[in-house]
Amino acid sequence: MIRFLIRRLVGAAVVLWVVSILTFCVFFVVPNDPASQYAGRSPTPAVLEATREKLGLNESVVLQYWHFVKAIFAGRDFAAGVDVDHCPAPCLGFSFRTNQPVLKIIESALPVTLHMAIGAAILWLLFGVSIGVLSALRRGSFFDRLAMSTALAGVSLPVYFTGLLGLQLLVYQWGVLPRPVYVSFFSNPYKSVVGLLLPSAVLAFLYAALYARLTRANMLETMQEDYIRTARAKGLPERTVIVRHGLRAALTPIVTVFGLDLGGLLGGAVLTEKVFNFQGLGFKAIDGIFQQDLPVVLGVTLVAAAFIVFANIFVDILYAVVDPRVRLG
């Protein structure tokens, strides 16, 4: 187990390193000069050059990358107006746009994304898996057809459609829900849940649909297995057969997908965050891209990649728990 973890952590570090290099390269491949964005209107060549120097863009790409990596492990000094600010390790730099430390930006955005993603995950697991199981058990029934049609809609409709529709109908027109707003669960649990309900539900609608279809398919397959028939023949109650023998086996691929989906979402649900104006990681990443704010783009991309990589490792570990045939080593 320890060897497995060490191997995966080294692999994760390599993946993150490659991601950082790729992000850096993509940023500089785009034929735009970020300095022109921050040099003010109609800058003279001297002002443009001074801006490049201030942002560190006058150095070679390799040197810039080296400074970025070094700052993560050893910190770095940055010019801050007429003063110099020390950014302690792990330093992801300062935003070109706001001059805030990128780590601080991520720290403020992460809870927003976390709240929304976890809320959505609870909803989609609850509804997606339950509906999938019930549909499988009542295959061909009206419920099954209705559930699968709804699931098809959930998979097909983009978040920016369901999000805006939900806002328009449930919030603005009918007033059923309050205007979505982020409140930390730890400061006011009730307001937090109510404020996050619509964004989480919109996100969950998409994923629940996928999970319902996946669970249904897995359950249908599992319930045809010989060992299910054997369990029934042994006289086990149907509930035990379904939950302990059928669902457990059907859940294995769900766990895999769930880990990856949650990891991906924690990296930022860009569209949902934009639709509901939740300033999470995805929102910051998109703003960073539009404003050519390299430190923010790099920082958020790395954090998002880290979530996915670590979600993968977590899923692998969980596999062993759900499926005794899998052994880590």
């Binding site: 022109s36 209107r41 109609s42 800058p43 001074a50 107006g81 007429v82 001059n99």
Partner: protein, 597 residues
């Protein structure tokens, strides 16, 4: 949108609003106030036809913006709403716009200065006397040296970027690139000789050339006072020191800004601002449709960007005939914003480097379609035949169109074909049009494409992200030439409401820059350059205005600009908002007098 300054569409309550100001400290107009409540002491009070007049203090003014301020440093902001917000709430300048509706709002009133002075020595020397008792938010006195320091900061292009820098080449002799020999107060502690402060209450500016609009320059927030001891260069924006009626309590970039009263602001020294709300809260980063809804729900009072409501909201506010629904009549209005929308035709991209090819485009465009692309007559009004915004002083009355494209403005195909023949392209030509990726810009490109196809001009449209469009796509002459952008969609509003404030950045050939260039067509016409220079030496405002009418004609002769509409917007405010009127000086509703009680 052209320059950073978002002097975009704003609605106004034209015709129904007539704000008259009265009170001590310089207010001179008669009052017929019907407002109730306690009067703000020693200051102007709105009255007359103003919508929801009030002088009652208190409450929280709730504002919203879809994007953050470009900077809270008064010398680094160029957004239109940044100008207004900073100046009306945080930074006092020597002079300021009058708090009056419409055109009267373009006139100047004293702010820190005792009066709006006249220039002397052929408009090369401008001297201001300060009022006594002026203080920063920390209680320290505001002296002439703080104003001198504030102006000197603008020269420090290694730290202070983003804001207008007219002072650089007016107070020093710049080189051909527009760079000043003075490097700003961080590198050159000796200071700028052109600004003298014989005592704490007097400041005098010695210009290197005559400049009749100098008072308007002293109205830009970047010329406000900055206490040297608290200046952090580029980082000053994180907590600028207020000299205005409010001070910053909290600022979370991209999220929110909270202001509270500045206890050291003495309203008796201010003839314009009412400072009615106790606090000001700006919600930053919300979606445009969400802001519209919050305004209609009275959760937000006013959207400071003043870009007008979204199309979906527009449909809810208007009747089928385009009139405003009765339920919203007291909250919604439309007004020309002073912003010109136009197509730029490049002087360095063949075959548009030939004036006849450019004229062919002028004749062939369908301005009705272009108007509709901008939102139709309600938000895209009025069709423009020349480049001089009618909201500017000195705008020509009923000027004849140089390129009359049909009585219905849908294009003069015959005239266009004649010009194509003269250009040596009788069957038309191919060119590329750059546009930003906003829905309106895309619609403008499509309308242009369709209209020009009628005379054989094939337009390939290339769309770019709006955030970089002006700075590095069409603002980079080398990029424009390399990519062959013969046509580009652009817009422009005046930095200050005079011909110079409107034209100098967009047509002066000596101001073409390698990046962030605003002379998008790279036009360098000696006659136009000369007209700009001559205007600065004009001895009267009439003579000054005449130069710009002449410049407009010359610009149309060059055919590098296809003006198609003067922007109009449909804007909504909350029901509880008081003293609502449109100030043409800013091209926005005036924050100086807004209240909520």
């Amino acid at each position: 949108m052209a320059r950073k300054r978002l002097l975009l569409q704003a609605g106004a309550l034209t015709g129904t609003l007539a704000l008259a100001l009265t009170g001590c400290g310089g207010g001179s107009e008669s009052s017929s106030s019907t407002a109730s409540g306690s009067s703000s002491s020693g200051n102007a009070a709105p009255s007359g036809d103003i919508r929801n007049p009030s002088t009652t203090k208190g409450g929280e003014l709730k504002l919203a913006a879809t994007s953050d301020f470009d900077s809270l440093d008064p010398a680094r902001t160029y957004y239109g709403y940044g100008f207004e917000f900073n100046q009306r709430f945080l930074t006092r300048t020597l002079v300021q716009f009058q708090a009056k509706p419409g055109q009267a709002g373009t006139e100047l009133a004293p702010d820190l200065a005792t009066e709006v002075p006249m220039g002397t020595e052929n408009n090369t020397v401008w001297t201001y006397k300060l009022k006594p008792g002026l203080k920063f938010e920390d209680g320290s006195p505001i002296t002439s040296k703080d104003i001198k320091y504030g102006v000197e900061r603008v020269f420090a292009s290694d730290q202070i970027t983003g804001g207008p820098d007219y002072v650089k080449c007016l107070l020093t002799v710049c080189d051909k690139d527009g760079a000043s020999p003075y490097q700003g107060p961080y590198k050159d502690k000796a200071g700028l000789d052109a600004i003298s402060t014989p005592d704490d209450m007097t400041i005098s500016f010695k210009l290197v050339k005559p400049f009749a609009d100098w008072n308007y320059i002293m109205n830009l927030p970047g010329t406000g006072p900055v206490p040297e001891a608290q200046d952090k260069g580029a980082n000053y924006q994180s907590k600028p020191v207020s000299s205005g009626p409010y001070k910053i309590v909290t600022y979370t970039p991209g999220k929110s800004l909270m202001l509270d009263r500045n206890p050291n602001y003495d309203q008796s020294t201010d003839p314009v601002r009412l400072a009615l709300p106790d606090t000001v809260n700006v919600q930053i980063g919300a979606q445009p449709a969400d802001i519209d809804q919050q305004i209609l729900d009275n959760q937000v009072d006013y959207a400071i960007e003043d870009v007008g409501v979204q199309s979906a909201t527009q449909a809810r506010l208007l009747n089928r005939d385009g009139s405003i629904q009765d339920a919203f009549k007291n909250r919604v209005s439309t007004q020309n914003t002073g912003y010109l929308r136009y197509l730029t035709l490049q002087t360095n991209v063949p075959p548009l480097d030939n004036v006849h090819c450019r004229r062919a485009v002028q004749f062939a465009v369908n301005k009705v379609d272009l108007q509709n692309a901008r939102g139709g007559p309600i938000t895209g009004d009025d069709i423009a035949d020349n480049s001089f915004p009618p909201s500017l002083a000195g705008a020509p009355q009923n000027a004849a169109a140089r390129y009359p494209n049909g009585a219905d403005h849908k294009g003069d195909i015959e005239a266009a074909k004649r010009e194509l023949a003269e250009c040596g392209q009788p069957n038309g030509f191919k060119t590329v049009q750059a546009s930003s990726n906003t829905p309106k810009s895309k619609a403008v490109a499509a309308a242009t494409q369709q209209a020009l196809e009628r005379v054989g001009i094939t337009v390939e449209v290339k769309s770019f992200d709006a955030a970089q469009y002006y700075a590095s796509v069409i603002g980079s002459p080398s990029n424009v030439k390399a990519k062959g952008f013969g046509i580009a969609d652009a817009g422009w509003g005046p930095d200050f409401p005079t011909g110079y404030g409107f034209y100098s950045q967009i047509v002066d050939g000596r101001k073409i820059k390698p990046a962030g260039n605003s002379n998008y067509s790279s036009l360098d016409d000696p006659k136009i350059n000369q007209l700009i220079d001559e205007s600065l030496e004009a001895t009267s405002r009439e003579a000054f205005n005449m130069k710009y009418q002449e410049l407009d004609k010359q610009l149309m002769e060059n055919a590098t600009m296809v003006p198609f509409v003067f922007d109009r917007s449909l804007a909504a405010v909350s029901e509880r908002l008081k003293n609502v009127y449109f100030n043409q000086g800013y091209g926005h509703f005036d924050l100086a007098t807004m209240g909520v009680q």
